[in-house]
């Protein structure tokens, strides 16, 4: 078994949106636009960014709650298989590009037409081959039966504790639904397991027979966490689990997640918009902006030496509990641009203080700098 628990490559997800309420014209919203992530067993990866940057979509794509358009989500992949499949994927991409230029030509010769035909066949064949190879560990090309078997290994904790629990079900049924479906526990044993989970998340055993509306926000989030733990998953995707809570309750939930990670041997993807929270709980942090990862680094070095201008402005926006704190950094101006019509070049350039001429023309590529940060920026500040 490899050390990598989950590996995401080239993940893309678009949504069709209408140009206006009365228009039949459809536009494409690129929520996630080519995201690569890798998680080691027992690690916590923080994903941070403003509303609309695609961080929630990434989390949902991992569980196939949204069906991604492209990319692969590898669960415990063999390194050789990944490289084999990605080679085929690359050749398919190259062929698709050639096909695109060919069919874009206004006049076509017979040779061109024949080439187009063979290209189409080859693409279809190679794609099918790659998917078949990948289907053992790629969640996106798996058969339904295998997906179901693997799904219990990835669970999710949702943002809004008021909307994510069924009001008609008692806590016992909410938490026990997964084990019952997978047949891991039943009858008395299931009751015992639910009680054990409730105790783990700090709820009294009497809570089992109550309805969600009888609990406060923090307690509901605990129920959501117990539900995610019920199938003893390897990975939990926490989608803004604390942003709807008071700071005092937020601290309780963060502490709970940290202690459960040790007890249940969990790997977390922790999604939030508040860098101080993400940085606190994560080993590594990925900063997202408009569907792309713009900086990835260890959480300690990310704070000590943020490279991307966007990361710097996110850090500047975090309020510091010290009246004497000098706030030299300034938060970014304006709002996130619409992902339907993102700015040209580097998508952050309209809000960036370090922009140079090239920024609005060329899309920067993710690259490693000398400190191990992976950033995509033409003119990174801080040396």
């Amino acid at each position: 078994m490899s050390d990598t628990l989950i590996k995401v490559t080239g993940l893309k997800k678009t949504f069709p949106v209408k140009a206006s309420a009365f228009s039949s014209k459809s536009l494409t919203l690129r929520a996630v636009d080519g995201v690569d992530l890798e998680l080691k067993r027992g690690e916590t990866l923080g994903v941070v960014g403003e509303s609309g940057c695609g961080k929630t979509t990434v989390g949902r794509c991992l569980l196939r709650l949204y069906e991604p358009d492209a990319g692969r989500v590898w669960l415990e992949p063999e390194a050789s298989l990944v490289s084999q499949v990605s080679q085929i994927d690359e050749s398919v991409a190259a062929m698709a590009e050639e096909l695109g230029t060919l069919s874009g030509q206004p006049t076509k010769t017979t040779a061109d037409k024949a080439r187009v035909r063979t290209l189409k066949q080859q693409i279809a064949r190679n794609k099918a081959h790659a998917n078949e190879l990948a289907s053992t560990s790629d969640l996106l090309s798996m058969s339904r039966a295998r997906l179901k078997a693997n799904r219990r290994r990835i669970q999710m904790v949702f943002q809004d504790p008021w909307a994510s629990l069924n009001p008609h079900m008692v806590v016992k049924d909410i938490v026990g639904e997964g084990p019952l479906e997978y047949g891991t526990h039943s009858g008395r044993e299931l009751d015992r397991w639910v009680h054990e989970l409730l105790e783990k998340v700090g709820l009294p055993p009497q809570a089992a027979n109550r309805y969600p509306h009888e609990f406060s926000g923090g307690q509901r989030q605990r129920i959501g966490i117990a539900r995610a733990l019920a199938l003893t998953p390897s990975l939990i995707v926490c989608d803004e689990p604390v942003s709807a809570l008071d700071v005092s309750i937020q601290a309780q939930i963060l502490n709970l997640l940290i202690s459960l990670q040790d007890d249940f041997d969990l790997t977390f993807i922790f999604i939030a918009h508040d860098l101080s929270v993400v940085q606190y709980i994560s080993d590594r942090v990925a900063v997202m902006y408009l569907g792309k990862v713009v900086e990835t680094a260890d959480s300690a070095t990310l704070y000590a030496n943020p490279r991307h201008p966007y990361t710097r402005s996110l850090l500047a926006a975090v309020p510091v509990a010290d009246p004497d704190h000098p706030n030299e950094l300034r938060p970014p101006e304006g709002d996130v641009p619409s992902p339907v019509n993102p700015p040209s070049g580097c998508t952050f350039h309209p809000r960036c203080r370090h922009r140079i001429d090239i920024c609005d023309k060329v899309i920067p590529v993710l690259g490693k700098d000398q400190n191990g940060h992976v950033i995509s920026c033409h003119n990174p500040p801080n040396g």
Binding site: D246, I258, D274, P323
Partner: protein
């Protein structure tokens, strides 16, 4: 500093079926001219109900301001008529609400919603009011205000909607602006923008601000004075530097410990995980407060006497008040009552009123309107 607003012994209770929720249970504070007061506490601690009482926006029934005085420049807002109160709302005291999505009317343009205030309070014509609206939108940092006035709330992002709310609140240049969790529903980046804007406006107009939040970090660089509330009472009140540098009440200390500090290393020296100093448990049931100190069940420094009697809010230093037996032995006069049954209610209210009368001398009816 001159006292602009002076709140004395405010009690706002909600009479539900068979029990009473004592949301605000004897709160005293004052607000100086040009001062920013931060009110901090968890959801349900009564901080919003305190501000709603000042605006007299408590739904009655079931709510009722049972006792106290709210003096605006020496005039008791609880004794004036509803018509007079309407002149004060928006004109002298205005409010920014937490949810910019739900507090703007979706069927009117934002220009109209700002103009409405101006036409009502400053007798402007429609044209003048619209011109003034454009100026106000510019003031709150909206780009293209001439075009934006005719847009509707759904066309704006959360941050921009909150800017519109601030423009409405600022329209009549009020003496006091009450901001009830104005940034809680927003992203941190937009929160930083809104805080910067409010600080700018305050510097420019000299408005006093009551800033209500659950996150102490938000007001660190913004407030002059901070009041920490817990279960309907003030537990600590001090200048902002004292609250952050030498918090006295265990609850304030717990709130500060709950905030993750940027750049703090997560691992301890021996490699184990560093946990936040969270406050255990949650707010007590409003129907059934503990007999002694209301914070006792969650307090890490609880002593035997904390379960027996409720401590009083006493000044420790210049401007620094705290309600805790660790710092003073003074006991709160009014008894904290356990489950208040329907039959007992009136008896307790009479007892309360007697205590109130004894304390405040000639004050007979307080907030009974």
């Amino acid at each position: 500093m001159d006292k602009l607003l002076d709140v004395k012994g405010l009690k706002t209770h909600f009479h539900m079926h068979g029990y009473t929720v004592r949301a605000v249970d004897g709160v005293d504070f004052s607000l100086g001219v040009g001062e920013t007061l931060g009110i901090v506490g968890e959801s349900g601690c009564g901080k919003s109900q305190t501000s709603m009482s000042v605006m007299r926006l408590i739904p009655d029934p079931p709510g009722k301001i049972e006792a106290g005085e709210i003096l605006l420049r020496g005039r008791d807002l609880l004794k004036i008529s509803e018509t007079e109160m309407r002149k004060i709302r928006g004109n002298n005291i205005s409010m920014i609400f937490q949810e910019p999505m739900t507090s703007l009317n979706p069927v009117y343009s934002i220009g109209y919603q700002i103009s409405e205030v101006l036409m009502l309070h400053r007798d402007m014509t429609k044209e003048d009011a619209l011109k003034e609206s454009v100026r106000l939108l510019k003031l709150v940092g909206m780009s293209d205000p001439e075009e934006r006035v005719s847009e509707y709330p759904f066309q704006l992002s959360g941050g921009l909607r909150q800017r519109v709310m601030i423009a409405i609140a600022m329209a009549c240049e009020p003496d006091i602006m009450i901001a009830d969790e104005p940034t809680t529903a927003l992203d941190v980046t937009i929160q930083a923008q809104i805080l910067r804007l409010m600080a700018d406006l305050k510097a420019r107009t000299g408005t006093s601000i009551m800033f209500i939040t659950h996150d102490l970090a938000v007001i660190a660089s913004f407030a002059d004075r901070v009041m920490v509330m817990y279960a309907g009472v003030v537990v600590e009140q001090a200048p902002v530097r004292d609250i952050f540098k030498k918090p006295l009440h265990p609850y304030t200390q717990g709130l500060l410990g709950s905030i993750p500090v940027l750049g703090e290393v997560k691992k301890r020296a021996d490699g184990s995980r560093q946990l936040l100093n969270a406050i255990p448990g949650s707010l007590p049931d409003h129907r059934n407060f503990p007999k002694g100190c209301r914070f006792a069940p969650r307090c890490t420094k609880v002593m035997a006497r904390c379960w027996e009697a409720e401590p009083a809010l006493v000044p420790i230093e210049e401007g620094h008040q705290v309600r805790c037996f660790l710092h003073s032995d003074a006991v709160q006069e009014t008894p904290a009552y356990a489950e208040v049954k329907r039959g007992q209610q009136r008896k307790w209210q009479r007892a309360d009123r007697r205590a109130q009368n004894a304390g405040a001398g000639a004050d007979t009816t307080g907030g009974r309107s």
